[in-house]
C-alpha cells in the first residue's frame, strides 16, 4: 500500500511516497527526501530540534503526519532562516554541539517574523520548546537580540517596514558530494 503526495519543501515541490499513514514529516524529510536540516532527537515533541515552519507556523515535524501535508509549504532551517539570524548565532557563540541549533534557528526566525524586537521574556517564551543542553541559553538570547538589531538596521536602511517576509536567506550552495536532489548544506551539519 502506498500513499503519494506532493509538498513544497524550502521552495521546491517534492513528491514523497509513503508506505504507512503515520509516517512523521520529520522522517520523510530526513529519510525519503534527504533534507536533514530538521534533527531527530526525542520524537515526542519535547526537544524542538525538528522544528520547521508549516505554512508559516512553527511546528515540531516529528508530530506532524506527512500525509497531512499534501500541497502545504514546509520550510526547514535551510529555507526559513534569515542570514542575520545565522550570523548572530555564530558571532555570539550561541552554538556549541550544534544539535539543537537548526530547531532554534527556525524558532528564532518565526519569532522575529512576528516580533521584530522581542524582550528577554518574550524570547524565553518563544524558545521554551527548544532544548539546548550546552549553552545555558544566555548566548542564544544574546544572539536573538543581535539578529533583531541587525534586521531592524537593514530594514531601516532599505526603508522596508519593521518586518519582512521570510525567508530572505541567500540560497545555500549545494554540496556536490551529496546525492542528487539533496539540498543539505553545512549550516545543517551532517548529523
Amino acid at each position: 500500500m502506498r500513499l503519494e503526495l506532493t509538498l513544497l519543501v524550502d521552495g521546491e515541490a517534492v513528491t514523497a511516497v509513503l508506505d504507512r499513514p503515520g509516517e512523521s514529516l520529520l522522517r520523510t524529510l530526513r529519510e525519503r527526501l534527504g533534507r536533514t536540516g530538521a534533527k531527530n532527537a526525542c520524537e515526542q515533541g519535547e526537544c524542538g530540534s525538528c522544528t520547521v515552519l508549516l505554512d508559516g507556523e512553527a511546528v515540531v515535524s516529528c508530530l506532524v503526519a506527512t500525509a497531512q501535508c499534501e500541497g502545504r509549504e514546509v520550510r526547514t532551517v535551510a529555507g526559513a532562516v534569515p542570514g542575520e539570524v545565522r550570523e548572530a548565532f555564530a558571532a555570539c557563540g550561541a552554538v556549541q554541539c550544534g544539535f539543537c541549533t537548526p530547531g532554534l534557528l527556525v524558532s528564532v526566525a518565526d519569532l522575529l517574523g512576528r516580533n521584530p524586537d522581542p524582550a528577554d521574556a518574550e524570547i524565553r517564551e518563544a524558545l521554551a520548546g527548544n532544548l539546548c543542553r550546552c549553552t545555558g541559553y544566555e548566548k542564544i538570547i544574546e544572539a536573538v537580540h543581535r539578529a533583531a538589531t541587525a534586521r531592524t538596521a537593514e530594514n531601516t536602511h532599505t526603508g522596508a517596514p519593521g518586518t519582512r517576509p521570510l525567508p530572505p536567506s541567500p540560497s545555500p550552495e549545494k554540496d556536490p558530494t551529496l546525492p542528487h536532489g539533496c539540498d543539505s548544506v553545512m549550516t545543517e551539519g551532517r548529523t
Binding site: L3, Q68, D110, A126, G129
Partner: protein, 300 residues
C-alpha cells in the same frame, strides 16, 4: 525503510484513500470512521504521533481532521463560545482570552509554542489524560462536549465526559465536534504546578470560575485523580457576594481544604499524593484570593 517498491504503478487513488482519509466535513468524517473501524483520527497529532513514533500505535489507516472546516472554527453563540474541536491552543489564546480567560490561561501553559500551534481541545478531550491542561477550566466553567457520529450529535457535560484514566464516554464510532464553553461571568483563574516554568506536564492544576450574578463557584482539578475532577463541595462554599465584607481567612482556608479533599491523587513519578493535596489547597486558596481581588476592583 522500504522506499523502493517493486511495482512503480502501485499507487491507486482507491488505495491511497484506504490508508489516509481527508474528509472535509464532519458528516464525511464520521461516515469514514464508521466505514473504517480502527482508523485513527488525527488533528494536531501532538498525542497520536507520539504513540505512532514509539510504535505503541500502528494504524493501518488514519483520518485527517485538519481539513474539516467546522472543526477549525469557533463561534459566538450568545452566552457561550462554541469552539471547534480542531481549533489549536494558539488561537484560543489569541482570540478568546477576553471571553474565556480561564481556558486561555490553561492553554498558555500547554507544551511549547510549537505544540500550542498544533494541539487542540478535541485532542485533549479525546486523550482524556487526567493531566490534560484544558480539563479543569472546562469543568469549572460548566462546558459541554458536542460529539458526532453517523447517528447524529449528542452533547455531554464535561463533568460527565471523563470515565477513567485516558477513558471517556467517547465511543470508537464517535468524533468530538466542538466544546461549548459558557462565557466568563466573573473572574476566572488557572494555576498549574510543574517541575519547570514551561514545557511541563502538570503535577496538579486547579481552575476557578466565579459567576457573580449567579453567585456560583466552579472548581476543576487536574492531575490529581483518575480523571479530571470537579470539587463540588468546594463549589458550594458561601462567599460574601452581597459585598457585606471581605473574604475572610477562614473562608479561604476552608475552600483550600475542600478542594484538597475532593482530589483523589496517587503517588507517581511527578509527585506524591500528599504533595498534590497540599499543592492543590495552596492553588485553590491563591485562585480564590486572586479572583476575589479582581472582583473587588470591579466593584470599587
Amino acid at each position: 525503510m522500504n522506499t523502493q517498491l517493486k511495482d512503480p504503478n502501485d499507487v491507486s487513488v482507491g488505495r491511497t484513500k484506504e490508508m489516509f482519509h481527508r474528509p472535509t466535513d464532519i458528516e464525511e468524517a464520521v461516515s469514514c470512521l464508521a466505514a473504517h473501524p480502527g482508523a485513527v483520527p488525527i488533528a494536531g497529532g501532538t498525542d497520536v504521533m507520539v504513540g505512532v513514533n514509539y510504535r505503541r500505535l500502528r494504524p493501518a489507516a488514519m483520518i485527517d481532521l485538519t481539513g474539516v472546516v467546522e472543526l477549525r472554527e469557533w463561534s459566538d453563540e450568545g452566552d457561550a463560545i462554541r469552539i471547534g474541536a480542531g481549533v489549536p491552543y494558539a488561537r484560543i489564546i489569541d482570540d478568546l482570552g477576553g471571553v474565556l480567560p480561564g481556558l486561555a490561561a490553561a492553554s498558555r501553559t500547554v507544551g511549547s509554542p510549537q505544540i500550542r500551534n498544533r494541539g487542540t481541545l478535541g485532542g485533549n478531550l479525546a486523550t482524556a489524560s487526567p493531566a490534560g491542561d484544558a480539563h479543569p477550566p472546562l469543568l469549572a466553567a460548566g462546558a459541554k462536549v458536542e460529539i458526532a457520529s453517523t447517528a447524529g450529535r449528542r452533547t455531554v457535560p464535561a463533568a460527565d465526559f471523563y470515565t477513567g484514566p485516558k477513558r471517556s464516554v467517547l465511543a470508537e464510532s464517535e468524533l468530538i465536534a466542538a466544546v461549548i464553553v459558557p462565557k466568563a461571568a466573573g473572574p476566572q483563574q488557572f494555576l498549574k504546578v510543574g517541575n519547570r516554568g514551561a514545557m511541563v506536564i502538570s503535577v496538579c492544576s486547579f481552575a476557578l470560575s466565579l459567576d457573580v450574578e449567579g453567585r456560583a463557584v466552579g472548581a476543576g482539578i487536574g492531575s490529581a485523580g483518575p480523571t479530571p475532577l470537579r470539587a463540588t463541595e468546594a463549589e458550594s462554599i458561601e462567599l460574601p457576594w452581597d459585598k457585606s465584607g471581605p473574604l475572610g481567612d477562614e473562608t479561604v482556608e476552608r475552600f483550600g481544604a475542600l478542594v484538597a479533599e475532593a482530589a483523589r491523587p496517587i503517588d507517581d513519578v511527578r509527585g506524591t499524593a500528599a504533595y498534590r493535596r497540599h499543592a492543590l489547597a495552596v492553588c485553590a486558596r491563591r485562585a480564590l484570593l486572586r479572583a476575589w481581588k479582581e472582583l473587588l476592583c470591579d466593584w470599587n
